[in-house]
Symmetry: C2
């Protein structure tokens, strides 16, 4: 059996055990296979691809079960979106996770995900003690969209369908500033202020 | 109900009727929703988005049923892939459909699909009597990959996982030549010769 097939087989087995009480086996198996192909399209050069596929699959299946109600939502679910899920939405998600200390659950995605997170976004977050080391770009999927209580459109707002359920918030942020670290710091601080305001609103 | 939700509701209903004997309702409903969000990410500005979502959903569900064996494959299935599913893979798919006159069934996809097919690819195909008017870029999915007998990698070969089942063929073609029509014609003719050779091999 090929490396891909044995990886998928192991993942299907783990996910079927993990989500047995929540999601039908056919659906679980489809999610494993599709999540693998989806991430492989952009992140095929990433040595950590199998681990990322595993984490993204767990997150998607959890979101699906949250939407159908078989897994609860103990805290508000916030989804941050931008185009590449490499800079703006990753900074927002990491800052919200950092400040909320578990009082909000965070996801992020992009309409046209990059192969990896932005090095400059990671650098300016590290300066304020926040890491992107576990983060990776993911495409927007129906499951995480529907599991969200708040969807923050931090870029490429038109690329996200307006489904029933979540509240949508548009953040007008500058386009990805690339490698000019001072410009990236300014975007980080802008995002940080918005994140703190949203957190206050969601938790008081 | 929002426009999106009523479109999805109609589509789920149609697909459940169409694939009732082949695929479980949960899976059909997931496919409709995910296909919508997936195409919307890149083709949200396209007036024909609902029709394209419908056609892509039918194609994906058909591919899934072909893989599980509940829908047959009367002729060989060939999948053409490149990066943007806008130029090279679209030209190859259209030329194969044209020359094969039903003796081969064709699909195409890309690792990072563009919002629309390449205008120059459409122009040089029109010169030889082949149309791209119904074609649109789609991301590579697990279902169409596994339904393929032959996968032709016409660009971005690394972005496609090597699953069990299909035979893989790599075509070394120049990068998308953009708007220089003479360069695009040369790529068209190169692709045309390869398509004819593959067609002969598959049908004799």
């Amino acid at each position: 059996m090929s490396t891909v097939e044995s990886l998928l087989r192991e993942l299907r087995s783990e996910m079927n055990e993990r989500f047995a009480n929540h999601i039908a086996p056919d659906t679980i198996n489809r999610y494993v296979n599709e999540t693998y192909v989806t991430l492989h399209r952009t992140a095929h050069a990433d040595q950590q691809l199998p681990d990322k596929v595993r984490r993204f699959t767990i997150d998607r299946l959890t979101a699906l079960a949250q939407t159908t109600g078989t897994i609860g939502k103990p805290v508000p679910e916030v989804l941050f979106l931008c185009i590449h899920n490499a800079g703006r939405s990753q900074m927002a998600a990491a800052l919200m996770a950092h400040h909320s200390r578990g009082r909000v659950h965070v996801r992020s995605a992009g309409s046209r995900p990059d192969p990896a997170v932005s090095a400059s976004a990671a650098a300016v977050l590290a300066e304020v003690g926040v890491t992107l080391s576990d983060a990776f770009p993911k495409p927007l999927t129906d499951d995480v969209l529907r599991a969200a209580d708040v969807v923050v459109l931090a870029g490429g707002a038109d690329a996200c369908p307006r489904v029933s359920g979540p509240r949508y918030e548009v953040w007008e942020l500058p386009h990805p500033p690339g490698s000019d670290l001072d410009a990236v710091r300014a975007v980080r601080d802008d995002i940080d202020a918005r994140v703190r305001a949203l957190l206050t609103e969601l938790t008081t």
